[in-house]
């Protein structure tokens, strides 16, 4: 039963104020590490209390933003200033001005800390090569393909570094890596580039569970069409944002999840779905029944060993309290369903 409906987070969680208010000022200092570690422990405690099987990296307390964190640690990228993402949210979008090379490991410090605390139910989010390419301005490489593959080479080295660290603590056990690729389906004619760059990123790395996280895609079918060509075990996707809030398990009640029928038709390699069951962009706490309906609708399409449950995306945009309540309801819902399955 433990392997059914594994619950997981997707990555980020709201930082405590003592960290968020000083993050940029103290970045890289001893104080940064002290506060990031403290916040990681507190978030892991909260995620565990909410009932999550997999606690990720404790809400990405070492990172400010998924693109910026990695781009900051790469030579060849220059920052001119922030770029708006939506409303009043901004991110630092780098410009590639030279050949890319790793200046400093992206996530070793974070993983070393988690290992020092003996956490083993973790999943490390790493921003994928296609998204790194798509979210950068390119002033240097010949074209987008060459840029994506340059990022893929860097990521391959980074994942190997993480794997070595993991093996030193847990030899023989699988390391879970989530390749965050929200840009994946944004250029329908570039799906081959997505496949090639992801495969290059994981090339030659054994005994890892690789997943891909995609959110706010206008067409997941583009991804489903090529998923069997990508060397990944599962897809952690956003669905709740595109669904209704009324209860029910009919097609008309669950429009956000209907695409899964297409997924399952193509899923010859038995990849699992990390099912986004709670919307990270609204404060509304989805009731247990609604989450159960979303899961049960999915279970009518695919078997429970191929379904994991998670929020749509990282919960950093919600308050700590609301993030917790959303996860708690997710846990109650999946446990009730597990009882029913049993």
């Amino acid at each position: 039963m433990g392997k059914y409906l594994i619950s997981q987070e997707i990555g980020s969680f709201r930082k405590p104020k003592y960290l968020s208010t000083v993050f940029h000022k103290i970045y890289g200092t001893e104080e940064y590490y002290r506060l990031s570690e403290k916040a990681t422990d507190e978030t892991i405690e909260l995620l565990s209390h909410a009932g999550l099987d997999n606690i990720g990296v404790g809400g990405e307390m070492f990172r400010w933003e998924m693109y910026e964190h990695q781009a900051n640690r790469i030579d060849g990228i220059k920052f001119y200033g922030p770029v708006r993402s939506f409303d009043n949210r901004y991110y630092k979008k780098g410009s590639i001005v030279d050949d890319l090379s790793i200046k400093e490991s992206f996530h070793s410090d974070e993983l070393e800390y988690l290992l020092s605390r003996d956490y083993d139910n973790i999943k490390i989010p790493v921003t994928g090569p296609y998204t790194m390419m798509d979210w950068s301005f390119n002033e240097h490489y010949r074209d987008r393909y060459e840029t994506a593959m340059a990022f893929a080479s860097l990521l391959n080295g980074e994942i190997k570094t993480l794997k070595r660290l993991w093996d030193s603590k847990y030899p023989g056990r699988k390391l879970e890596i989530q390749l965050d690729e929200p840009a994946t389906t944004t250029h329908p004619d570039e799906m081959d580039m997505v496949v090639d760059s992801l495969n290059k990123s994981v090339e030659g790395i054994d005994n890892c569970e690789f997943t891909i996280h995609v959110c706010y895609s206008t067409d997941y079918r583009l991804l489903y069409d090529v998923m069997n060509d990508i060397k990944i075990d599962g897809l952690n996707l956003e669905f709740a944002n595109r669904d209704k809030l009324e209860p029910g398990t009919s097609d008309s009640a669950r429009p956000g999840y209907e695409d899964l029928k297409y997924f399952q038709q193509l899923n010859t390699r038995k990849k699992f779905i990390g099912l986004g069951v709670t919307d990270v962009h609204i404060d509304y706490i989805e009731p247990v029944q609604l989450i159960k309906d979303r899961i049960n609708y999915t279970l009518n399409i695919m078997p429970p060993d191929l379904v994991r449950v998670n929020p749509d995306c990282g919960l950093r945009t919600r308050s700590i309290e609301i993030g917790y309540e959303k996860l708690k309801n997710m846990d109650i819902a999946r446990k009730e369903i597990l009882k029913e399955i049993k």
Partner: protein
């Protein structure tokens, strides 16, 4: 050749204005104060343009996305889910279009809105000013609608006409960020009283536009430019990249202009500048001011 330059759409905000909006979002700054901050920033932006004879729209510092304020003031349109804007890492709230009946909020004066900084929609800067509105074709494609396109177009153009009359404006930039399909038709004949500069994206087909726009500003290609020349009084072309920090050279741009067969053209940018860091947008603005000189 006479070259007219046009800057349109949302322009990147200064850090200071971002901080003001952040405080407003947290309830620490009243609507009226934010409105004053935005007005001051718009005045600075207009100062930046005033000596350069660049035609422009409002910088739309108070528009969270190019559809949001329109969605919020029109009865019959609601805000839907956060949706990716084309292939970028920017998002907008998808309009949910029902039965459009009119405008419920005064667009011309200070009016607080939910989920968007307060109105007015525009602050008129004078001689070189143009209103800015999303083209009905892209508006419809970026929405979820329960009415057909023909009905949507008719009703939204009525709304647009009302807005322009309210502001007493004759010049309008209609922006189409989504490429046309061959079968798409934008009929602007009901808005014939206005001087419309239509900005299109991607390949343009000759049947895409009905009516007589003052200009159709197209992505740079011989085919597009030919249609723009045939279908509008002053052809227009996008020659400055709004998606990349790489700076164009003046000689490249002027070389492209010289290759075009026209007595008069409008030169603009490929996407509104909000996709660039402010410092780069300012540099591109500088560059634009020297085009054709």
């Amino acid at each position: 050749m006479q070259v007219e330059k046009l800057v349109y759409g949302i322009y990147p905000k200064t850090n200071e204005l971002r901080l003001h909006i952040g405080r407003w979002e947290k309830g620490m700054l009243p609507d009226a104060s934010l409105s004053e901050n935005i007005e001051s920033e718009k005045a600075l932006f207009y100062d930046l343009l005033s000596e350069r004879s660049i035609h422009h729209t409002d910088p739309l510092f108070n528009w969270y996305d190019i559809l949001r304020p329109i969605s919020l003031i029109v009865d019959g349109i609601e805000l839907g889910p956060l949706t990716r804007f084309k292939e970028t890492n920017s998002f907008y709230r998808m309009p949910l279009v029902g039965d459009i009946t009119g405008i419920s909020v005064d667009p011309k004066n200070f009016s607080p809105l939910n989920e968007n900084p307060p109105l007015p929609l525009y602050i008129n800067s004078g001689e070189y000013f143009n209103a800015f509105l999303p083209s009905p074709v892209s508006f419809f494609k970026m929405s979820r609608s329960s009415i057909p396109y023909s009905e949507f177009q008719e009703k939204i153009e009525n709304i647009y006409t009302g807005i322009l009359k309210e502001f007493g404006l004759k010049s309008l930039v209609l922006y189409d960020p989504i490429p046309y399909e061959k079968t798409d038709v934008l009929d602007i004949s009901p808005m014939k009283d206005f001087k419309i500069k239509l900005i299109t994206t991607g390949k343009l087909y000759s049947g895409n536009v009905n009516g007589n726009p003052y200009s159709i500003i197209v992505d740079y290609s011989a085919e597009n430019f030919k249609i723009s020349s045939e279908k509008s009084k002053v052809p227009g072309v996008k020659l400055v990249d709004g998606y990349n920090t790489r700076m164009e050279t003046l000689s490249d741009i002027n070389g492209k202009i010289e290759s075009l067969d026209a007595d008069r053209i409008i030169v603009s940018h490929s996407e509104y500048f909000d996709f660039l860091p402010r410092i780069i947008a300012d540099r591109k603005l500088d560059l634009m001011s020297n085009i054709g000189e």
